[in-house]
Symmetry: C2
Subunit: 264 residues, 2 copies
Amino acid sequence: MKIGFYQFSPCFGEVPDNLDKILAALQGAQADLIVLPELPFTGYLFADRAELAGLAEDPKSSPTVEALVDLCRRQGFHLVTGFAEKYSDKIYNSSLLLGPSGIVDVYRKLHLFDREKLYFDPGDLPLRVNSVAGVKIGMMVCFDWIFPETCRVLALQGAEIICHPSNLVLNYCQQSMLTRALENAVFAVTANRTGEEKGLKFTGQSQIVAPRAELLHRAGVEEEILFVTEIDPAKARDKMITGRNDLFEDRRGEWYQQIINDEL
Amino acid sequence: MKIGFYQFSPCFGEVPDNLDKILAALQGAQADLIVLPELPFTGYLFADRAELAGLAEDPKSSPTVEALVDLCRRQGFHLVTGFAEKYSDKIYNSSLLLGPSGIVDVYRKLHLFDREKLYFDPGDLPLRVNSVAGVKIGMMVCFDWIFPETCRVLALQGAEIICHPSNLVLNYCQQSMLTRALENAVFAVTANRTGEEKGLKFTGQSQIVAPRAELLHRAGVEEEILFVTEIDPAKARDKMITGRNDLFEDRRGEWYQQIINDEL
């Protein structure tokens, strides 16, 4: 299976231009699944909810989504992309799984970061997995990574590839995603953006990690790059870390109750 | 608060000699809390349960524990130490919290590694925290680290310092413990052993990590060393990673159900 990411620097507020840039970069890509950054069409740092509301779209009636689905159809691949999702009177920092048949699934960021709390609504959909070409993929968005429960819940449902659209500004994530891949024995594609918005610098270094904390590729801080590599998803079905230790069978769920009910 | 570890190479089966070595190394140490490796008195690689049974002790009647408690009393500090614990017809790979008043608490390794499954019983006590000089400490043993739930459950109960006696043979733990410290905003003391037993090499590199994934000190692979440093436990009470993000308040427990109930 060929999976990849596209790392670039979106222009704030320029939805059609950012879309065109993405369409041009992905045209002709030989891949089965490509992950785009968080909020790659709108940009990231909104002044307030009104500004966000003016840029967010309902995926069901979005020309942006329509163009991406067309691309999926022409190329025969799937895309995971960040998306400012308007739904009724709500606005979510979402991730969409798109394919030749249209919108496959939506995930709404559960853990909002910093100023996002000022203008996005917190996610209200379960973490869940979908099959792409027989391979189970899960979605999370940026800051979700710091909560080990996010990847865990996806992996326990069978996710083999964690797709991770991001707009990272702290320096911890890339290294920590090696731990996420290791502890869950999954692949993880972190598609980060580059560049700067109103003084806020993004850290680039998009990466693909394999189950044994193996860094398959990490992009530079500034480069704009489409990177695709071949992986064997079966490696994420093997949870044995020693001949006697299955990372999932060895879990002692009865002793983890506080993770759900932490009012102690 | 002064916390530390003692990294050394135990001699297999030589319980009194290993105890003497530890007593000599810790005599005069200026510390509040010192962590020793996993199974530092018996050694690690048992031929079978019978051999382990001949070396394990009941902490309540153990001359080893008695000598360590005497040391705590003379020095006015607390110790966390690995311990092959005999209890009725069971044998656990345990960690003891010892202080001037005696045995404060016992933790029994929940996640047994590789051959340990052949001769140890799996832990059957909850992960819980204890106060040492007003600071909350939690205990886990070696391979427990790879399950993010272990540190999480301790941290959710208020653990400020994770004490982590270890006999590590894989190369993943030391780096991953930076993620554990970061995601839970806790200190973590990994006390590993050095040396070799029947061809099995231990990775040393005992370390102390601070909440922001900050490596305070990492020992060498081979050196025998008592290391002590001053920390400010209040740093582990501050869970704010940005001005708007509390790592615990931001958790979305209602979406983490699979972690307890993963029969999907």
